[in-house]
């Protein structure tokens, strides 16, 4: 096994994803009782998973590790290589359906995180879905375009 994998798994903040997993398990149980997920909750569940993936990037040792030869971008990419499959797997298991909406929200949150910090990156997907519901618009109108745009922003900010 590559030397970075195990310590990165341990250094990654899994609590947000675990918390969302518990909430989704409860919601899934309730949904199963009622027949299916209520459509209005799908957006909130998707935003919660996206936010939890972004929250996993929080690194308490970031200052200490700031001057190691393995760059911040590489360390972040390694965390995402662990967090994204876990988050997407959780979403598929609990909510299911097309992944594009989740991909769009997660990429947007990550893009905000690299440019404005992890806390705002966590808030971004949740705020977007809440705002969309408040003004009664679709929360994932063009997920492929959002993913491409947010991915470009993420790429441009990869060394931040």
């Amino acid at each position: 096994m590559t030397a970075w994998v195990l310590p990165t798994v341990r250094a990654t903040s899994w609590t947000p994803l675990a918390g969302v997993a518990v909430c989704l398990a409860v919601a899934s149980a309730l949904a199963a009782h009622g027949g299916a997920w209520p459509g209005t909750l799908t957006g909130v569940a998707t935003a919660a998973v996206a936010a939890a993936v972004v929250a996993g990037l929080r690194d308490p040792a970031a200052a200490l590790l700031a001057a190691v030869p393995t760059s911040h971008a590489v360390r972040r990419a390694r965390r995402l290589a662990l967090l994204l499959p876990a988050g997407f797997g959780l979403w598929l298991a609990a909510v299911g359906g097309p992944l594009l909406g989740l991909l769009a929200l997660t990429t947007s949150g990550l893009a905000v995180a690299v440019w404005a910090g992890v806390p705002l990156g966590v808030a971004a997907p949740v705020l977007w879905v809440i705002t969309a519901r408040a003004v009664d618009i679709d929360w994932d109108p063009r997920p492929e375009l959002v993913t491409v745009a947010a991915g470009a922003a993420l790429w441009m900010g990869r060394n931040r």
């Binding site: 030397a3 970075w4 310590p7 341990r10 250094a11 690194d59 308490p60 040792a61 970031a62 200052a63 200490l64 590790l65 700031a66 001057a67 190691v68 030869p69 393995t70 760059s71 360390r75």
Partner: protein
Amino acid sequence: MIEAIALTKSYGGTRAVDDVTLSADRGVIGLLGPNGAGKTSLLRMAATVLAPDEGSLRLLGLDPGRADERVQIRRRLGYLPQSPGLYPGFTPYDMVDYVAVLKEHTDRERRRHEVRRVLEAVTLQDVMHRKIRALSGGMKQRVALACALVGQPDLLVLDEPANGLDPDQRLGLRSLLSAAPTVLMATHNISEVSALCQQVYVMFTGRVRFAGTPAELAGLAHGRVWEDDRQDPDAVRSWLTPTGSYRHLGDPPSGAAVVDPTLDDGYLLLARMEHAP
């Protein structure tokens, strides 16, 4: 090792580092100054973490502004920030091992040897398998210091390394640092500077106001320190010493018992001159 010319760094409208020129080859270089003087920003630039807005910086003969050279510098650099966060669920061994992995120590056996070496250097070998969350503040500081020491760096950049250390640990730190090739260290502790540093820079409001040896800094107060058994209202600073007499700093009155200045006297006089109208 460090060659900084006219470095400037601003945050918004505030110049945290203002036209700082600094040169250091080998030995321990101390950075003194009050909070907000720009020491941490300067150290972050010297650690390749922060890019200067203006000026030129070369570290270990390389340009940290170039991505490829920055990686080469980081391979030979150890950095201890002012507030080094750690993973509470890790042990000191895990933490230092992870840093060694990130410092590209790929051979497992050599890495294990190196991790043990640095943990012994900071005398943490007895608690190396205890969770970091269960360690004292001084032990956590030594874990962070051990991380900076991984790979025997040619350049150590340390922000308040003696934070949280007890007197015995401070002495240990001194012997550790005196063995390092080049150390750039910010501190509020003047006794550390007088014990360790060959060169000292004093910063106020982002600018270097003094550069020289500790003896030269103390010499700034030559002829301006006197002792008396009464407090002198004309002195710029006065304080009661353990012997029961008052030590005064400023322009001594005629007939005053002038004494040899210390590094504290030189620094305090410089600080006073900085804040004088």
